[in-house]
């Protein structure tokens, strides 16, 4: 007999609507899972027949956390469609805005969304629990309060470029609207320094950024952890040790196939942007990493497919986004044998579902498929090899590890501005197809635009959350989070914080209504909220 219990879990975080997760639990382990996105707003439909530049206004507002990333995609998509020339200063100003948003998200996600699970009562027997509560309890934890509040500083730099964060539209085809002055640059430096000297070094690392940058391998990291109490007791050190203590390095493996679009076009290599030329122009390389063969290859937008077999749309086959029609169906009843989500199953034409996110990026950066001048960092791939593959811990570590290059790249932007040169070259409006991509902090994001007769004929967005919360494909391959939930141990079915950890490690930022079912009888055990 399945035991019927009420489960509860602290609800946290969402961005693009509600996510339902259904899990089947057998002998304390998740054996099957389904993810359903539960909100439809129809941005692609709103954009049809609108001004070609409407995406610059509308798409940042698709997501309050990743607005700069959407704007980046919208601008590059129009640049490629209009064959615009983009001056180097504008590329730098776009990159800087994108990076500022990402830097903001590190402490905000870490303290506001991820770490509060560590104060869950299920961990009260962990030797780290008392300290965790002191530091990370919502609102009152010492480091929660500082971390959440200081997360507002990096986007002050965004405001100098775009006037406000979130929801500016300062990136436009041909460049940017702003023309920063010397004081904007010096103020930005000061903000970066403040962020580093008040959070990154004293609280997050317990050492200088330079010392952290010396870490190249898993062995280096473990040596760093043991080197000084300041390292072990930093928020990074504490997070790592407690996560291992409660087993977050043991589950949440997922599909073991990853995608990154790469991002941050080099200021001198993408001034005449084309869809085909992008991979060779980005400082952070694109790629697909296949864990089964431990191999890398570059990623191409032409191989993207969207399968709607299990999604609430009336469209056949698995078309490329340029060929999508976005026909929602009215009846969105959850039918797990049929349609059960507003998210489509996004696929690589040959490889099926892929996982997007910081872990994907970092595994891609560990490859040898990129050009010499592009970013390479083997730490996370080395950890992956030494720790038995992906896990909740490695996924979250990869996100936070990015503070290293995000900070340095922001410094680089401030150095590289040539303030007396142009920030904008007026483009000629024309019909055409375009594609713009970036890496939002949460992963691979891109927009496709088709401009015809001076208006938008088709606009398509594939967000990192679309990749990760996607339902099964027509061939019944589970989506990334669905797959990552398989094998998750549930210590206390009354409070399955482990499911929350897996979902939050993907930073899907959705409130999930999790329906737990007994695998043998299918009887619903309980419902609870998580993200």
């Amino acid at each position: 007999m399945a035991q019927v219990q009420t489960l509860d879990i602290s609800p946290v975080g969402r961005v693009e609507g509600d996510l339902d997760v259904r899990v089947d639990i057998e002998d304390g382990v998740v054996v099957n899972a389904w993810t359903s996105a539960e909100l439809f707003r129809g941005f692609e439909i709103i954009l049809r027949d609108k001004d070609p530049q409407a995406g610059l206004v509308v798409t940042p507002r698709a997501c309050g956390i990743c607005g700069a990333s959407h704007l980046t995609c919208a601008a590059w998509a129009l640049d490629t469609a209009w064959q615009a020339e983009v001056p180097r200063n504008a590329i730098i100003a776009r990159n800087l805005g994108q990076l500022a948003e990402s830097l903001q998200s590190l402490p905000r996600h870490h303290y506001g969304l991820f770490m509060i699970d560590m104060v869950n009562k299920n961990y009260k027997n962990s030797p780290y629990y008392e300290e965790a509560v002191k530091r990370w309890a919502p609102f009152t934890g010492t480091n929660y309060e500082l971390g959440v509040t200081i997360s507002g500083r990096p986007v002050e730099i965004y405001a100098m470029l775009g006037g406000q964060w979130p929801h500016s539209s300062y990136m436009v085809p041909g460049g940017v609207m702003c023309s920063p002055t010397l004081t904007d640059v010096t103020r930005s430096w000061s903000i970066l320094e403040h962020f580093r000297s008040n959070w990154i070094e004293p609280m997050w690392l317990g050492c200088s950024l330079e010392r952290y940058e010396e870490i190249q391998t898993y062995a280096d990291f473990m040596a760093w952890l043991d080197e000084k109490p300041e390292h072990a007791n930093s928020d990074l050190g504490m997070m790592w040790r407690m996560a291992c203590d409660v087993g977050l390095d043991k589950y949440g493996k997922g599909l073991d196939k990853f995608i990154s679009w790469g991002y941050l076009p080099h200021e001198d290599k993408y001034n005449k942007p084309t869809i085909e030329g992008r991979n060779a122009a980005v400082q952070m390389p694109s790629g697909v990493f296949d864990g089964a063969t431990c191999s890398h290859q570059v990623m191409d937008q032409a191989v993207v497919r969207e399968d709607t077999t299990h999604a609430w749309y009336e469209e056949s086959g698995a078309p490329h986004p340029f060929d999508r029609t976005t026909n929602p169906i009215s009846n969105n009843a959850q039918d797990f044998a049929g349609k059960y989500s507003w998210a489509t199953a996004v696929m690589h034409a040959e490889r099926g579902h892929l996982e997007a996110g910081p872990l994907a990026r970092e595994l891609v950066y560990g490859g040898n498929h990129m050009e010499d001048w592009q970013h390479r960092d083997g730490l996370v791939l080395d950890m992956y090899k030494n720790m038995g593959g992906a896990s909740v811990l490695l996924r979250h570590f990869a996100r936070m590890h990015e503070v290293k290059y995000i900070y340095r790249m922001m410094e680089r932007c401030l150095r590289e501005f040539k303030l007396s040169e142009p920030f904008y070259v007026k483009p000629k409006e024309q019909d055409g197809q375009g594609w713009g991509a970036t890496e939002a902090i949460r992963g691979a994001l891109c927009h496709w635009i088709d401009v015809k007769d001076g208006k938008i004929k088709n606009y398509q967005i594939i967000a990192p959350t679309t990749w990760n919360v996607g339902p099964r494909t027509g061939e019944e391959e589970r989506g990334p989070i669905e797959e990552a939930l398989i094998g998750t141990p549930i210590a206390d079915a009354g409070d399955p914080v482990e499911v929350g950890h897996v979902a939050r490690s993907y930073d899907s930022c959705l409130v999930c209504t999790v329906h737990a079912h007994d695998a043998k009888t299918g009887e619903e055990l309980a419902r609870f909220k998580t993200a």
């Binding site: 602290s10 969402r14 909100l39 997501c63 309050g64 507002g152 100098m160 929801h167």
Partner: protein, 320 residues
């Protein structure tokens, strides 16, 4: 101690993200210093207690007193008025919104989506979205034009896409400290203390506006964005240039035309081809003139302004 519940409908979480940028008071200060007890918020990590649904039901039954109900995002009515395209805690969100609004002392709509529908309600409004008490300029919205929360006030609208964090925190502090009765609101139920003045009030380009010196293209170091680039600063009500964004700047200061996002029509002209970042004109005169100015007056004013314009006004002023 005031109990606050914050829910999101057809939302992007942008108002929450904006709110988290607040300082003095910060989101944490609101809780620790001003006695606001956040019963639940989608992103702020509060413990749920036993069960979210039970807590919501307790609010509705009155066993938990709901002092402030904050709603972010549109009320989604699709498909066919059922609201099933936005489900929350097991039922259409709109059903929760109706019941919670009826028991709350005060109801606050934050951001354009909750006030008048915002971007999701842009034609053809695929999700059949509306604001709590308006749909664009039409009074009524989801709760109806006669709706009043228990304290006797209609929905307090704090528009903007997103709303500035200080607009939100100041109103919450006013309510939590017993000053709700001092709130003066305009015809769109916006607090006058923020929305009586214009976006242009305090803009660093005001001298260029006065002398009709236009920024003709983006990226220029001088000029007003109203004449060519579609800026709506002179006819939009907001304090964006009095209370700066992220403590640093504003869109018009940075060089981005105001989109009028605190007004019910945002996005203007439904983003029809030819309307984005371009001033709409008839015979060279802007279709939408600065608030209260008529066409004849505008022509006289700008002719005089051009004649009087000093030479420096044509030179770069926001220089390196």
């Amino acid at each position: 101690m005031a109990n606050l519940l914050w829910l999101q409908g057809g939302a992007c979480s942008g108002n929450t993200m904006s709110f988290l940028n607040a300082e003095e008071p910060s989101a944490c200060d609101l809780v620790t210093d001003f006695g606001i007890n956040v019963l639940w918020h989608p992103s702020l990590g509060m413990e749920l207690g036993d069960n979210l649904q039970q807590m919501l039901k307790d609010c509705i039954s009155g066993s938990i007193k709901l002092d402030i109900f904050v709603f972010e995002g549109t009320v989604v009515n699709a498909p066919n008025g059922t609201g099933e395209w936005n489900r929350f805690a097991g039922r259409p969100m709109k059903e929760w919104v109706r019941e919670l609004s009826n028991v709350a002392d005060i109801v606050v709509a934050i951001g354009d989506c909750a006030t008048w529908g915002g971007i999701p309600a842009t034609a053809p409004n695929p999700s059949d979205s509306e604001g709590l008490q308006f749909l664009k300029r039409d009074h009524g919205g989801f709760l109806g034009k006669d709706f009043k929360a228990k304290i006797g006030l209609p929905v307090i609208n704090i528009p903007g896409c997103p709303a500035h964090p200080d607009w939100v925190t100041q109103i919450l502090v006013a309510v939590a400290t017993g000053h709700a009765g001092d709130l003066a609101i305009d015809e769109f139920q916006r607090p006058k203390t923020f929305f009586q003045s214009f976006t242009q009030t305090g803009c660093t380009r005001n001298m260029h506006f006065a002398y009709k010196v236009s920024a003709t293209e983006f990226g220029q170091r001088r000029g007003c964005l109203f004449y060519d680039l579609g800026c709506r600063g002179p006819m939009t009500h907001s304090p964006c240039n009095r209370i700066l964004w992220n403590r640093q700047s504003s869109k018009t200061r940075a060089g981005m035309p105001c989109l009028g996002c605190t007004e019910p029509e945002f996005p203007f002209f439904d983003l029809a081809p030819g309307t984005v970042f371009k001033t709409q004109t008839v015979m060279g005169v802007p279709k939408d003139l600065p608030a209260g100015v008529d066409k004849k007056g505008y022509i006289k004013l700008t002719a005089a302004a051009k004649t009087a314009a000093p030479a420096w006004a044509e030179e770069d002023i926001f220089t390196v």
